[in-house]
């Protein structure tokens, strides 16, 4: 019996991870296809979307600011950013950038309230125009996902970029 229980819970974890991965891949695909309004529909209206600044300290390998951010967004400010990107004069995204989001190292844990803690790594290729140059942004994401039928919505996303000083003209993409 014990062996079966272990196997069942292992199977549950596997299926959860499978569902979370499928969701994160679809989400990345929407952003890479620049379907940002559709992406917004995946976010809960009470979303907390943050990307704090990394702070290099002598004895700590992973230290982030508690008050300074690349993004500290709610639904309204994210919606405003998307509307701006889709307007005529958003020069930072003219022409629109080419992005490829590689989402890996996914780990998912179900909470007691049914929500899911999902951690993933993100490698984002960023290129623009007829220029040979390109940039990568790398980081780790901690999401809280809420079940929505067979899929999820995003209640919370914290992005921890690996860069101390990003070498990028602007961060005009969602992470």
């Amino acid at each position: 019996m014990a062996a079966n229980t272990d196997r069942d819970s292992e199977l549950d974890r596997f299926l959860l991870k499978q569902r979370v991965e499928r969701f994160l891949y679809e989400e990345a695909s929407l952003l890479d296809r620049r379907e940002q309004t559709e992406w917004l529909a995946l976010l809960d209206e009470d979303i907390e979307y943050k990307a704090p600044l990394r702070v290099t300290r002598e004895h700590v390998n992973d230290s982030f600011s508690r008050s300074a951010y690349y993004f500290d967004e709610d639904y309204g400010s994210l919606e405003a950013r998307i509307q701006r990107f889709e307007s005529e004069y958003a020069w930072s995204e003219r022409p629109p950038s080419r992005t490829r989001r590689f989402v890996t190292n996914v780990r998912a844990t179900e909470r007691d309230d049914g929500a899911v803690d999902a951690e993933s790594y993100l490698l984002l290729y960023y290129g623009q125009g007829d220029d040979s140059s390109y940039t990568f942004l790398a980081g780790r994401r901690e999401d809280v996902l809420r079940p929505n039928g067979e899929t999820f919505t995003i209640a919370k996303r914290h992005v921890f970029l690996d860069h101390a000083v990003p070498e990028i003209d602007k961060i005009s993409v969602f992470l």
Binding site: V55, Y69, Y70, S77, Y89, W91, S92, P166, I168
Partner: protein
């Protein structure tokens, strides 16, 4: 061209002279060669003669509030430790061990009583004093430790908590450098009871832009706002008067050139605007902290944008938000253009708020700052995307072969009816319109004066160039027409921490 011992000059004397002559000819016409925005020779001259000489912003005292707090800071390429020492004094120490030169500071910031060199273990107090030399009795018996403290930046001084350092032993004092422009800076930094403080850590990011493009932009480029940032207005993220077309709105707009620095303001006459800060902040604005004229200016102001020569800039912006459905606020952003190469700049951007504001209000101010400035800012994204194009073409063969010039003639008498504001109570040359580029010309003139004057030269001409003094001769250039060199040589002031750190105690 006078002879010089500069390394860069020694390598290519002829090219140098030609380039400087070409720049000078362009400046005389209110122009600037495009090439200067991406040129290795110009960059080396800037490092040697501008950043090696001028007062450069290091940080705000509120970033290192406690004894032992430190942050790594830079003057162009040179690393310094910005630290509050055990005596509570602010020091700017050259981050290099006196033994073999290794860097001591391994973090961006932290708190420490000592800096220990990882190479051979020489240890310095946070005052810079050398207090530990391993095996001293055997290896360095006669070493005078008091002579081997960490080097301090040759001169360090502060204004309203803003700490500046100069790599030069001599030259005008910080007070002389800022001159009467403090009239405008006071409004940004001294108005609230309790003063201003930095929120969090500064944004830092590296862009493929020449630093002067950013400096130009903050030296009175009101002209770009309505076009480059049209999306902000379109989306309702900023009010018509904040981001509208220059010269076309309801506001009373002015450009001011003062002692080498510039500011651009938009005001609503007769109204209490205070950059649209929430009441909680406005209540902290105390008329006793400034003069009545300064207080009146702050009261009517919707925005101030400005530049402190050479590479510090600020914007105190009102009627702006992160979401059209939320309240607007003001915020104060301070930025520094750190040159990393002819085509590379690290932008540093700090958010400020009154120290006594509630945490909730500070968070709101920070959020609106971050939504608009910094690498992800709705304003800033669009600027840098455009600036990089300038850097690209500045390196072109075409621009070099054909001496392509950029035009900064707006507001000169040949281009437009120039209206000065004779009634304005503040110092400087005051334009009654924000459509002029003479402020940028003055920035370029000062920049050129530095580049064309060898570092050991003692007679830097500081006249303000065309347009200076035509409205208010007193406010512009009066303290900086000459005398930048020998007069202040050896003018160390221990009170400001400018003595070499190791010489103390």
């Amino acid at each position: 061209m006078p002879p010089t011992e500069s390394k860069a000059t020694a390598q290519q004397p002829d090219e140098h002279a030609d380039l400087l002559a070409e720049i000078e000819a362009s400046l005389g016409e209110g122009k600037l060669p495009l090439q200067t925005f991406n040129d290795e020779t110009v960059h080396q001259l800037e490092l040697d003669r501008l950043f090696g000489r001028e007062w450069i912003f290091v940080g705000h005292e509120s970033e290192i509030p406690e004894e032992g707090d430190y942050a790594r800071r830079y003057i162009a390429g040179d690393p310094f430790i910005f630290v509050r020492d055990i005596n509570g004094d602010v020091q700017v120490l050259f981050d290099s061990c006196r033994h073999r030169g290794a860097k001591l500071c391994r973090a961006e910031q932290g708190n420490t009583s000592h800096f220990r060199c990882p190479y051979h273990g020489w240890t310095y107090k946070n005052t810079g004093d050398l207090v530990g030399v391993p095996q001293k009795e055997v290896a360095f018996k006669n070493l005078d430790q008091s002579e081997h403290g960490l080097h301090s930046a040759p001169r360090v001084d502060s204004y309203a908590g803003l700490v500046f350092a100069s790599l030069s032993d001599s030259g005008e004092s910080l007070e002389e450098h800022l001159g009467e422009f403090t009239w405008y800076l006071d409004i940004q930094f001294k108005l609230p009871d309790g003063g201003m403080e930095v929120i969090g850590e500064p944004h830092r990011w590296v862009v493929e832009t020449n630093w002067k493009t950013g400096a130009d932009n903050f030296a009175g480029d009101s002209y770009h706002t309505g076009f480059a940032h049209h999306s902000i207005k379109q989306l309702g993220l900023g009010g018509d008067d904040t981001v509208g077309i220059a010269g076309a709105g309801e506001t009373k707009d002015r450009h001011v050139h003062c002692d080498g620095h510039t500011t651009s303001t938009r005001m609503v006459e007769g109204e209490e605007v205070f950059m649209t800060y929430p009441d909680e902040i406005v209540d902290l604005f105390n008329p006793d902290n400034v003069t009545p004229d300064q207080y009146e200016a702050a009261k009517e102001a919707l925005s101030f944008t400005g530049s402190v020569f050479p590479n510090l800039a600020f914007l105190n912006f009102g009627d702006i938000t992160d979401d059209p459905n939320k309240d607007v606020t003001g915020f104060l952003g301070v930025r520094k253009w750190r040159p990393l190469g002819p085509n590379k700049t690290e932008i540093w951007s700090w958010a400020f708020a009154p120290k006594r504001a509630s945490e909730e209000t500070k968070e709101r101010i920070y959020k609106v700052y971050m939504s608009n400035f910094g690498p992800s800012g709705n304003f800033e994204q669009d600027d840098v995307s455009i600036w990089n194009g300038i850097t690209d073409v500045a390196d072109s063969t075409f621009a070099r072969h054909h001496e392509v010039d950029l035009n900064y003639q707006m507001g000169t008498e040949e281009m437009s009816e120039v209206a000065y504001d004779e009634e304005w109570p503040g110092p400087g040359t005051v334009y009654a319109i924000n459509l002029e580029e003479v402020g940028m010309q003055k920035f370029h003139d000062q920049w050129f004066d530095h580049l064309s004057t060898p570092r050991d030269g003692e007679t830097m001409s500081r006249d303000c160039g065309g347009g200076c003094g035509s409205a208010k001769a007193d406010g512009c250039g009066s303290t900086r027409t000459d005398d930048c060199g020998s007069a202040h040589a050896d003018d160390h002031d221990p009170a400001t921490g400018s003595e070499p750190a190791g010489g103390g105690e």
